[in-house]
Symmetry: none
Subunit: 263 residues, 2 copies
């Protein structure tokens, strides 16, 4: 994972302090730290922001407030404007994924980057969009395009984080590697022996293909050593009654015969 | 753009009706329509959900309520559990992007899919995760991993929509699709009944965790309908001798007793 400086989030004329707090929360979720506000409607700071930030206080405490978008992005090299729908401007329009890639490349090249969001109701003004390197549009269903501000930040922040995370998620816990083939085959043979005794392989000439199918379907689970032991316990528990009862019946039969002999 | 049926969103034990409304809103943003609730804390419907849905009323009006995760996913073939961090279970762990790709391919293959989310505080229980095809983990910064429920839904819904807007050629499943959860649970219950009879669950207070481990280890195989039938045949073949012999012994005992009576 990289230690690149994440993009700055800039909120233009945000109205609800609750939304600013929710934005801080998702920024923290995805490792973003720097939040700038342009002319927040109710001024700054606002207690209600802390109430919805769910502990992402360091983001709120670092907030800087500006009077215009131009001032807020002055020190940044690459900024994208986020809009719900493409606007009238002849600006490049990109998906959050495409934009994140550019922000990543520029950051890695030593540039300072940011993502600009409009207010809840009015969105961004064209003059402000024009200060940026292009438009990022989240692929919203046109039937319901009112996306919550914090959600819009979340999608972009998520794309940034997905990009900088190199390590793919582990498929399985490292402490539980799959069992050796030897152990697996032992388990299969145990199962097949008991199934044979239970009359499962019928007709007998199908035993080979039936066993193979069982090995394939169980093999997909990639049992660990512990799980092989568990599954052998299952086979044993299911089949043992039969063995014990057979022994009992044999003993009973023998006793009967001896009784008969004695009679 | 495709007209595939989007995944069902299932919320287990959600607490705040406001969050259910916010979930409905982001579902509508990204073209998802079907929402299922498992035991919502405050009952259903709740006016507060409509207040935060921002007009996504059709999602809320279509909500179905269930008593258990098992019932809520019974008709679905491929469901992923969303968790903040990988759990103790040995289930595959995927990113939202990887999971969306599988949901997309499975939907294109005619299967019904879903994404399961835990309650705001407690998250998902391992027994419920065990009913699903794996875990989806959003790449959250470990320093601040408290992700809002609607944000978690948004990230997954966004990945789905991004995928279907690109409309890559679906990779149709060449093999048989996974059985419905209903069939799987029936198979697990059959196995557990026979194991109970075989004295496998010892000590008895461990039955729950032992059953859960079995469901996890077998669940990873994603048995097809045919394979469920095969495995039920395996359980039957292993256990039936016991039943038959028990019947024989009972009959023999009865005959003995009658003989004794007659004497």
């Amino acid at each position: 994972m990289s230690d690149l400086t994440p993009p700055v989030i800039i909120l233009d004329k945000s109205q609800m302090a609750e939304n600013i707090g929710a934005v801080a929360r998702v920024m923290a979720n995805f490792g973003l730290t720097e939040l700038r506000l342009v002319s927040p409607r109710d001024g700054w700071p606002q207690d209600r922001a802390w109430a919805t930030a769910s502990g992402a206080d360091w983001v709120l405490e670092g907030v800087k407030v500006f009077d215009s978008v131009a001032e807020a992005v002055a020190d940044l090299n690459t900024v994208f404007s986020t809009t719900a729908r493409p606007r009238e401007t002849r600006m490049p329009v990109r998906t959050p994924r495409e934009s994140a890639r550019i922000l990543y490349d520029d950051t890695a090249s030593g540039l300072r980057t940011g993502i600009l969001f409009g207010g809840e109701r009015a969105g961004l003004e064209t003059t402000d969009i024009a200060l940026t390197a292009g438009i990022t549009t989240i692929p919203i269903d046109p039937k319901h395009h009112s996306l919550n501000l914090a959600q819009a930040v979340a999608i972009n922040a998520y794309e940034w984080r997905t990009l900088i995370l190199d390590a793919p998620p582990p498929r399985f816990r490292e402490s539980d590697p799959p069992a050796s083939n030897e152990l697996l085959v032992g388990m299969y043979e145990h199962l097949e022996t008991e199934l044979e005794a239970g009359g499962f392989f019928y007709p007998p000439e199908k035993k080979r293909s039936m066993s193979q199918n069982l090995r394939v379907m169980l093999g997909r689970s990639a049992f660990s050593e512990q799980e092989v032991a568990t599954f052998r316990g299952v086979i044993h528990a299911l089949a043992k009654g039969r063995g014990r009862l057979l022994a009992k019946m044999a003993a009973a039969k023998k006793a009967d015969e001896q009784a008969d002999d004695g009679a």
